[in-house]
Symmetry: C2
Subunit: 224 residues, 2 copies
DNA sequence: ATGTCAGGACTCGTATACGATTCCTATAAT
DNA sequence: ATTATAGGAATCGTATACGAGTCCTGACAT
């Protein structure tokens, strides 16, 4: 864990101590402060937060279940490397799930839903830094799935997106990344307005798989 | 936690203490020993396994991430109730993911793959108790997805199936449950043999959604 | 008799402590 | 000079201990 990544060990929003640490480490992995394979020293994190190791370990156990880290017996915890093929599969899974979700959603959409989604889309367009893009990108996508009235499905999609956040940020940072994303968002929104569930579904699938392709054209070169 | 459910607190397969407890509690929830909403007393579990609370809490933290239990602040851990609509959504998500997985898989299947799947299918047909049915049912399904060469997707499907295991067991216990499942398994297998990915995909979707429907015709009456 | 409040028992959440295992380093032998 | 080995430092995994908060019970007032 680099020093840079832990400038601000404030309690944040989490209610319990373990929750705060959980969010913090997850954030550090998402924004690239913690690199793949890097060990996470329990005592070090504990000292930084002025707590014992116990809440740290509990946070790490949750992160293990979420796939972000791995406990190596008697060796400690490391950030779990996500291989390029695995990233591709996760994007593909997103495409499958999100295209279905929007397909369910479109027939149920109301004027308010469309207005909310449109607002998210506009905010995404004007956002400044990559952290905002990432957050607003999710807000836009998820707002399109809400009318499907399938909270379990949306929550699963959210979990998968969290796991990908780090790579989404890289993709959005690419020169063409954000511009294309925004165009495609508008196209999806138009399909929703037109009530064309099949088209919205297909555009969503292609939108996600397109991000996947553009990321992989870049990845072999450099990792952040 | 009932006494019945904890007859055999052996270390099982898990390497670390926490892993053993994790598998044990997860199993107790899967087989219905632990009912929805039932509190899990940390000290009680710790005493039963002759360990302290710490590994128990770590196991529970993983189960929390997997959705099996919820930590209520200063109140303890309870088995998380899965509502009927949520069960329906989980089945639907399975149908989406597994129909896609088999669609990817069929074009890549070899004679050996088909033989393995066929063997699972036969074993399922002849299995005796519900725990075996459940295990062999998963072996059959997963064997059909392996050739898709998408380990992430298969692992996600497995996770979702584990979450549903308890309700799958109920469904298979229903008078018609196992027989219909077996017929449908054979039909899916035939489609794979014929190399008809679209048909296999559709049959898989219907197979899972059919189990969903038959379970829900039953559920409002009695929970195990 | 019923509602309210105080006191105790219980459970949780976390700090501290300690043995076990692993990793690093310095020394010695070939 | 290079390799093997022994000893120490560091880290992990878990037991024990304790304060904080919650729930239950029983006495008291109305």
């Amino acid at each position: 864990m680099t020093t840079q990544s832990l400038i601000k060990p404030e309690p944040e929003a989490g209610s319990s101590t373990a929750d705060a640490i959980l969010n913090y480490i997850r954030g550090a992995i998402a924004d690239g402060s913690l690199n793949d394979g890097e060990p996470i020293r329990q005592d070090e994190v504990a000292r930084r937060f002025n707590v014992s190791k116990i809440p740290v370990r509990e946070a790490l156990k949750r992160l293990e279940a979420e796939g972000f880290v791995a406990f190596i017996p008697n060796r400690g915890v490391v950030v779990r490397a996500v291989s390029d093929p695995e990233i591709a599969q996760i994007f593909e899974t997103r495409a499958i799930l999100e295209s279905n979700a929007i397909g369910f959603s479109v027939p149920m959409m109301t004027a308010e839903s469309l207005a909310r989604a449109s607002a998210c889309c506009a905010a995404f367009d004007e956002a400044g830094d990559v952290a905002q893009w990432s957050a607003l990108n999710w807000q836009f996508h998820s707002s399109l799935y809400l009318d499907a009235q399938r909270p379990y499905l949306v929550e699963l999609i959210r979990t998968i997106n969290v796991r990908l956040e780090r790579y989404l940020r890289i993709q959005l940072t690419l020169s063409v990344g954000k511009g294309i994303a925004n165009e495609e968002h508008h196209a999806i929104l138009d399909a929703c307005r037109a009530g064309d569930a099949g088209l919205a579904s297909r555009l969503t699938y292609d939108h996600i798989m397109g991000a996947n392709k553009s990321l992989h054209r870049f990845l072999p070169g450099a990792r952040f």
